[in-house]
Symmetry: C2
Subunit: 220 residues, 2 copies
DNA sequence: GGTGAGCTGGGACAAATGTCCCGTTTTTTC
DNA sequence: GAAAAAACGGGACATTTGTCCCAGCTCACC
């Protein structure tokens, strides 16, 4: 299976924006902006003037359904591109992007971005790669979150989370998994009782081998 | 919300392949092939030599998880592209593609396809559009299938299904929704008892307005 | 130092979904 | 056209997940 990435990053695109464009090219078409935690880079249902490339910070891409519940499509970290789908398709935003920490991002006017992707082979290639990668991730995640019980997905998430130092809110993790916070807590409790998760943190109590064996047990 | 498309089609790409390429260009790099119902165009975990553009027939793109359960990512109809993600990313197939009816598809060698997308602006544009569209669809579907009870998703599916004449197997519809066939039947029965679905078909018993109102009721 | 908003953890119960199973119906195959 | 294979429909029961709720804790703010 391709590696699950909880926080999408894309250093190549960030490098491209920062190093491949001259000041003249940037002018007033490419500039930096900062949002406080809780701020919105994009809003579902709106059109937007810019495509963003996140420079620092952490944000979440989420969809709010009519019943008020949120589903988190992905978390974005350094270098990830956002808002480009809407430019390609010329549609309104499908998702909202909310800053979880302070976020600084390059803003590229949609016109200039549209120009770049048709005239710059390198950015075009990076864009194709990014889209392909996210499509794979999204499909793979939709699949196992539908097909396995929540506990499996939680375990998988925890193993990834261990490599992040960031503090996520319980609600965000639950929204990412598509379950209620109550269910998330319940599964966590059970995993603790089975001595799989550390009593007072999200850390896996067990080593990699035991984890791999556990995951295999679901596949029987 | 952007329109839910149950069966993805892409006439523009099919037209491109059939009309924009000369016989000389096609040579032995682009040719037609036919699979019987049940045949595999791609197999999960394998590499492949061709990118395909479906000309006729219906197929399903699915992921088989380690526990043996299937999740259907999408159904493909006329013109849809498959296998291109793996070429862009240079990875093995994430999904299996299985013909549901007899399928005829253009086969394009991966080398030639890789050449085309970097040298033909029109195909490059069509590819970006296709990826963006599928990413949107996949995210939107993952979201509401996680966030709403199965009955809502089933109702939504039936309203789309009504416009198709194709006969889908119950198992495939259930796999698409990420529920068991038993649950699918149970919900169907309840919808029939509430006179929302026709007693002996998948047809919605109710008119568009009542359907819209029902969908809104879930959002309260 | 108080106070209120918001996050946390979990009990009790309800609802949704899955598993197992078996009899029936439809489709395929020879 | 009979036999075998596959799909269908649903009963009974187990498991998972959600809803509602409340008590404790933390932390910003006055």
């Amino acid at each position: 299976m391709s590696q699950l990435t909880m926080i999408h990053t894309n250093r190549a695109i960030l490098t491209f924006i920062e190093n491949q464009l001259t000041e003249t090219e940037k002018k007033d078409r490419v500039f930096l902006q900062t949002w406080p935690a809780g701020g919105h880079l994009l809003k579902q249902g709106q059109g937007n003037k810019y495509v963003f490339v996140q420079q620092t910070g952490l944000s979440k891409v989420h969809i709010t359904e009519d019943n008020g519940k949120d589903f988190i499509v992905q978390f974005l970290g350094e270098g990830e591109l956002l808002g480009e789908i809407e430019v390609i398709q010329k549609t309104l935003n499908l998702t909202t992007v909310t800053a979880l920490t302070e976020v600084t991002a390059w803003c590229i006017t949609t016109d200039y971005f549209a120009y770049l992707i048709t005239h710059n082979a390198e950015l075009n290639r990076l864009l194709l790669l990014s889209l392909a990668h996210r499509l794979n991730q999204t499909s793979a995640r939709a699949s196992y979150q539908q097909v396995y019980p929540a506990e499996y997905a939680i375990l998988k998430l925890l193993s990834v989370l261990a490599t992040q130092q960031t503090n996520f809110a319980k609600k965000d993790l639950a929204d990412y998994l598509g379950v209620s916070v109550r269910s998330f807590n319940r599964s966590l409790k059970q995993l603790r009782e089975r001595s799989i998760v550390h009593p007072d943190s999200f850390d896996l109590y067990i080593d990699r081998d035991v984890f791999e064996r556990l995951m295999r047990e679901y596949g029987e």
